[in-house]
Subunit: 340 residues, 3 copies
């Protein structure tokens, strides 16, 4: 892949500053870009690296362009333009279109144009795979699934039966979609299984990370709306609803029937209890536990900050005395008031 | 699947109130049930929905039956009866019994009656699969495993060698059972591996969630007793013992050699340090870290509750001063005492 | 496997105390070892079990040897000697060398001497597998990967394309290496994907746990140095660097671009925010969240200790008042100062 700076500018809707005929063969960070690479600056904190970068050109916003001494691609949102640039240089190998002879496609399956089914993959009865979609090696797609157009399921993804997925959905390896929700009724020290009769519905442009799990619903469906992005090792329990455009970082866990609004962000390791509602635009900081619904947009946190373990032990011991500390303080305040 | 209200009542040991010949074709929540569905009420908080439900009948306890205006199935434990009802309407597709021509069954394997081995599955040398058990597509069962009757291993489950599993065990996709425990001796800045010579023993009626990991023991076995239910993305380290009927929600992690009693519940994201003992009937709240053994049944928690991030930052900063705060309070109290 | 006590001593560089011709057929804990087993003591807390063990011999340090009444193997580091002993008795079944007829090896693949490729495994175009390496059943290795000598990939491991792995690396089942890093630019309520153009480089003697995920880098590589050991269900985000000899227990999550020094240990469930640097020799306690770089070696912690839930609720409620408590205490102190 190689193109001229002008061609790249045209693709990005950017203005060229410098020689538009310069050839661009890659994209790299400011600090390691070579003479053939385009680079970018989105965070002013890296401004000082602009003086030393060897890059052929810098993708930059108007606010920072005067700091660039060489060629530049000037664009309102430099980070977004950088994202689009990386897609041009994507080095992911192409798989040959078609059904690999060692794939297993069961009866009644409907494949769109240009579908790729990798070696060892299994597509269950009556499932439909949309045009341009790639099913990686070792994937198992249950029966009666509907997968849209231009999706990518990397190797060893598992879909249970009856799952529905929109267009342009990308699923990383090891993800499991449609496993049984964790529903049981206690029965004299044992557990009676609640058969999970719902399914999972996933919208368009959704990203699902490696080894992430999305359980099927108990009576109704678990729903992931359009434009949701999920990182690795996330647990989405049965009947969870995730609103359009929300994002979750790795190791997040969402308990059953919780509803997450639009445009929410959950940082890594966040836990949400079940049957909660989070409003649109709620942002939760790393490893926070949420046990009540949140009605107001904004940022939320729990826990404590890290400390040297020796000091931490003292604070943790005092935490156990907090109620006593508060009451004793009140007592002193009352005595003081009596004197005043 | 369709049956009469009387047939369902007889299956559940319930008393019919209303027309026993009504046909039931599904089970649905109070709010969305149609004229063909049975529904249930277990939590009085949903009582107001009884007035508007369109369901053919409501599974209900004697305490709430007077709130039901239409037909009802009256039974002591409505939630348990609901669970049993869902099993009647389970829509999981049946896989054809037998060994798929694209499965790989190695020498010395013994298969019980009615066993199903899916496409691409591998069953290692000398393993035994009990009657009625289904091994999903893409599963890999190591050599010398023993799997009981009527088990279900969903697609892409991995069992290492020498694992033993009881009857009626259900394993969700991506689960790994018998991986090497994490045991190493430090050796001048490197790590010397401790070969994991034990195995994993799993009792009857156990449920294992998607992408959950259960490591084999170092010298002796990791043990999961009967009726244990494990949700997704749980880590069970080597030589852990989980007592009968205990339940763990998603993302729990248990470090090595910890013993968990009978009837314990660990909520999502709980962490247990290694070499601990939890008594029977211990209940641990979400994302709690347990670093000492617990001798008394009851509920336990750690951490703090979520707050708006701005206020949280102030509390978190003060947490670091807690020991100083406590000492300064003591000092004021002493001065006060001196005056009294 | 059986050998004499003298042979074992010679292997371990230990001194025999007792009859060197005694036959040793296994290794077991002090409490359950039989007459045919060697055992070990590394922690003086188990000293009282030395009186009752039935073991043929005890691996022991000079400091504890006088407590052993029977035969002993005396060696400076008893735990290290125990680790080496377990490797002699490793009961992992050998897989037949060679490419299984049901494996899929694509064009251009180079296999070293004595390579094993299990049934259903896929090795992508132009990948190279070093001598003595075993690729388990159901593994999917992408194209252009380089795997060193004497590695073991257990069943159902996934490597994306272009991954590089050193010698003697062991990967547990379900691990995913080289999945796309979680990089997106916000774009009017949607997310524009940043194609992940980097890869993953893994050194020698690295251990990777079951269902652990290591993402490929965005522009440059994610790097795991030699002698790193990773437990199960760990998330390593894009462009993370893990220094030589560091160890992470289960359920750890590391956000993007964070650098971890040499010889660090992260206990279970630890979370590291992105773009941090941890010095060499940093030790982080279980479930701690680290949100700032750490320059000094030593132990660090966050969170609170577990309590009965009833008391915990009071402390958690007071935590929200901590800033007010601190300010009110200051006020009383000022009044007191004014009087003094």
């Amino acid at each position: 892949m190689e193109l001229s700076l002008s061609e790249l500018a045209s693709h990005l809707g950017a203005e060229v500053r410098g020689d538009g005929s310069t050839r661009i063969g890659g994209v790299a960070p400011l600090s390691s870009a070579g003479a053939n690479d385009v680079t970018f600056i989105a965070d002013p904190a890296y401004r000082k690296q602009l003086g030393t970068t060897l890059a052929a050109a810098v993708i930059v916003s108007p606010a920072l362009v005067d700091d660039v001494s060489g060629a530049a691609l000037v664009v309102d949102d430099a980070y977004l333009a950088f994202a689009k640039t990386t897609q041009l240089f994507d080095n992911r190998p192409c798989s040959p279109v078609g059904v690999h002879p060692r794939a297993i496609v069961e009866d009644g399956v409907v494949l769109g144009d240009g579908v790729t089914i990798g070696p060892g993959a299994v597509v269950g009865r009556n499932s439909r795979i949309g045009a341009g979609t790639e099913i990686g090696a070792g994937c198992v797609i249950g029966s009666d699934c509907i997968i849209g157009d231009d999706c990518l399921l990397n190797a060893n993804v598992t879909l249970y039966y009856g799952i529905s997925i929109g267009d342009r959905v990308r699923v990383q390896s090891g993800a499991v979609i449609g496993s049984d929700g964790f529903g049981f009724a206690p029965n004299k020290g044992k557990w009676e299984r609640i058969a999970q009769l719902g399914s999972v519905r996933i919208g368009n442009n959704v990203e699902i990370g490696a080894n992430t799990c999305i359980d099927r619903g108990a009576l109704e469906d678990t729903v992931i709306e359009d434009d949701v992005i999920l990182d690795n090792l996330i647990q989405i329990a049965h009947n969870v609803y995730v609103g359009q455009g929300s994002a979750m970082a790795g190791c997040v866990g969402i308990a059953g029937s919780t509803r997450i609004g639009k445009g929410c962000t959950l940082a890594g390791g966040v836990g949400l209890a079940g049957h909660l509602t989070l409003a649109d635009g709620v942002h939760v900081m790393g490893m926070t536990l949420i046990t009540n619904s949140i009605d107001e947009p904004g940022a939320y946190a729990s826990g404590t900050s890290h400390m040297p373990a020796k000091q931490w032990r003292r604070s943790a011991a005092r935490f156990k005395q907090l109620d006593s500390i508060a009451k004793r303080l009140q007592k002193l305040e009352k005595i003081q008031e009596g004197k005043a």
